[in-house]
Symmetry: C2
């Protein structure tokens, strides 16, 4: 393995959900925003924005929506949005129609811009000794999030990010081995039972031995067990297409 | 601004499309895959894979699809896919139905996993002195890409990434200022005409003065001009929903 400070940071990645009371200072925020701003962007369209949520009442609402009480208690909260509104405004200001902005293609470009920028900023934060957690759980009530941030049409929340000075230190959680994630030239559709069995054992050991919240679980039970999040049920998260359409996106 | 090696790398980011003949060595590949593998993943579902395309005939097809001839000539090519197939296999192997795997919610989780992992690996590569370019242009013919990589149902290409030892060095391209990208608590829907005019001037100067391919252009003309990529037209990229559905994804 090659190594340097950046890669060491990346390989040490773990989720942090509890932070000290110390909010990010202005210099750190400016640095992180600058990194986000410098991220690669699809066709140079720059279709993302990020909203720093500092209002305590709003943070409490996010804590409830994301079912993560600590959101209201510590850490800085950022919501990354796919933002096709800016380019719509520029087009309208210049007498152009909305063109391709309502297509799925353009929607996906905005989603990618926001996600790439978030990851880039997350790495920068970790390189400064900060910790964080990504919040896909904003989709637990996407409509509420959209209203909470006063998002106009053509803007949709993608992911949240909490950052702060870590106040907890977890063991690193195992991940599927490279041989299941990386392929060459063609998709490998053969189920490698042995690799999954090994991974089940690794993960079971991790769950049994970890300091906080030890339990009996493995990857197969997480994915296919009776309490799997993947089991059939309709949730508020299934509003996502409706909310996306209501925001004017992904029409065609 | 805070700084360290990681942030310096990130702030120096620029697109590189021409590489030397030297392919990535095995140690570098292993390191980059390890970084991708360590990336945050939505609900621990680990729904991405990456396919290293080394076959020259396939690279030629990508060069044609992406309209980037250099793809066939130099650099390593990786296609990141949202991979819900693994979890489908595990569920079927264990007698469970497909559960929520066909929902938009799960589709978006796979898209996010793939995009986050790509950006993380891209930063690691740049920290090693490599350069790269993200290929959204695989969506120029998503169906062809799907066939080229023999992707089964529940797997969809997200973005490509080319990496290599840079054989070109460009000026850094300007980006929209922080004040247009970063907001606090609420979306700012007021068109800041002065900020856009300033940015138009900055970008026009960049285009006029850059070494390669100098031209007369600004942000407004890119977004709203008569040759804007955003102008109304139906392209092969508008197959994306059809191909996504055909792959079994985003049904409900």
């Amino acid at each position: 393995m090659q190594t340097n400070d950046t890669i060491t940071t990346q390989l040490n990645h773990r989720t942090v959900r509890q932070f000290t009371d110390q909010p990010l200072d202005k210099e750190t925020l400016t640095t992180l925003y600058e990194v986000a701003r410098r991220t690669a962007t699809s066709q140079y369209l720059q279709q993302f924005s990020l909203i720093h949520v500092t209002d305590l009442a709003k943070k409490r609402r996010f804590a409830s929506i994301c079912r993560q009480p600590a959101i209201a208690e510590n850490g800085d909260l950022f919501i990354f949005v796919a933002d096709l509104r800016r380019n719509q405004q520029i087009r309208r200001q210049n007498g152009a129609d909305d063109g391709r902005l309502h297509t799925m293609d353009l929607y996906l470009q905005g989603m990618a811009d926001a996600t790439l920028a978030l990851q880039n900023m997350y790495v920068a934060a970790e390189s400064l000794g900060l910790g964080g957690v990504i919040l896909g759980s904003i989709r637990n009530d996407l409509k509420a999030v959209t209203e909470l941030l006063d998002l106009p049409a053509m803007v949709i929340p993608v992911l949240g990010l909490r950052l702060g000075v870590p106040a907890e230190d977890h063991e690193q959680k195992p991940r599927l081995p490279q041989k299941l994630l990386v392929m060459e030239n063609t998709y490998n559709d053969v189920l490698d039972e042995q690799a999954y069995q090994e991974f089940d054992r690794t993960l079971a050991t991790y769950y049994a031995e970890r300091n906080a919240n030890a339990r009996q679980e493995n990857f197969t039970s997480l994915i296919a067990g009776e309490n799997s999040t993947l089991n059939e049920k309709v949730t508020k998260r299934d509003d996502v297409l409706e909310v996306t359409h209501a925001q004017g996106l992904l029409w065609k």
